[in-house]
Symmetry: C2
Subunit: 114 residues, 2 copies
DNA sequence: ACGGTATATAACTTTCAAGTAATATTCGAA
DNA sequence: TTCGAATATTACTTGAAAGTTATATACCGT
């Protein structure tokens, strides 16, 4: 059977690929925070912050805990884990590829010279 | 001194966060390929393919090798490595955070009940 | 019940990247 | 030295996500 390669979810990558959201994620490393706290720290309007949090929430990067009229956002490990296993699936391949490229270049060189 | 946390390059994430480019990367796992081969396999126009390859090239995800009028594109390990070390920097934090959240919830509960 | 606070949502504008079409460049071969 | 193939680049159109403003909802304390 063919080797399983984890296929990475583009939605997760899209969510990560935005400076403000990345900043939010870095903030949430420390501890769960409310929208107001996040909004204040990264100097974004409250609606804007909520919008980014929704993107992060929709793809499972964060989860929310309601307490009174506050919402605590915290990181969820799952997306990070799948990203890690995807990235890891490239280990070993690069080096092998280097050999292959080496071979390829030699082939091409011969092709050119004979 | 404060603990060093690798700060992830948004440009790299942006480059990864697009389905066609992700497909190109998956293709290049196997071996270096020319623009024509890539273009054919993922059914994209040649200019479109070149454009995506430029994005990947600009952020160092691929490198190009010219041979005659062909360009061989291959993956470069560096961006994958830095992505991996960024992702790894989240390991251990999640679990600790869970404890913290647990504490936080208890605090909040007490706050509410007393 | 009322007022203030925290957050979400909807409607809108703006910005930027994806996608397309046409043209330029470079190379090998006849 | 011309021709076709491979690729890059430029100019353009389009669509989606970022950012903004205004409003709605829910909760607590009084």
């Amino acid at each position: 059977m063919p080797v399983e390669t984890p296929n990475m979810d583009v939605t997760t990558l899209k969510a990560l690929a935005e400076p403000n959201r990345l900043a939010i994620i870095e903030l949430l490393r420390e501890s769960p925070l409310t929208v107001g706290e996040i909004s204040h720290q990264i100097k974004l309007s409250q609606p804007h912050t909520s919008k980014h949090l929704k993107v992060l929430s929709d793809c499972g990067i964060v989860k929310v805990l309601a307490k009174a009229n506050r919402r605590y956002y915290k990181l969820r490990p799952e997306p990070f884990q799948s990203l890690e296993s995807w990235i890891k699936s490239f280990q070993g391949i690069m080096e092998e590829r280097f050999d292959n490229l080496d071979r390829l270049l030699k082939e091409l060189k011969n092709e050119g010279e004979f």
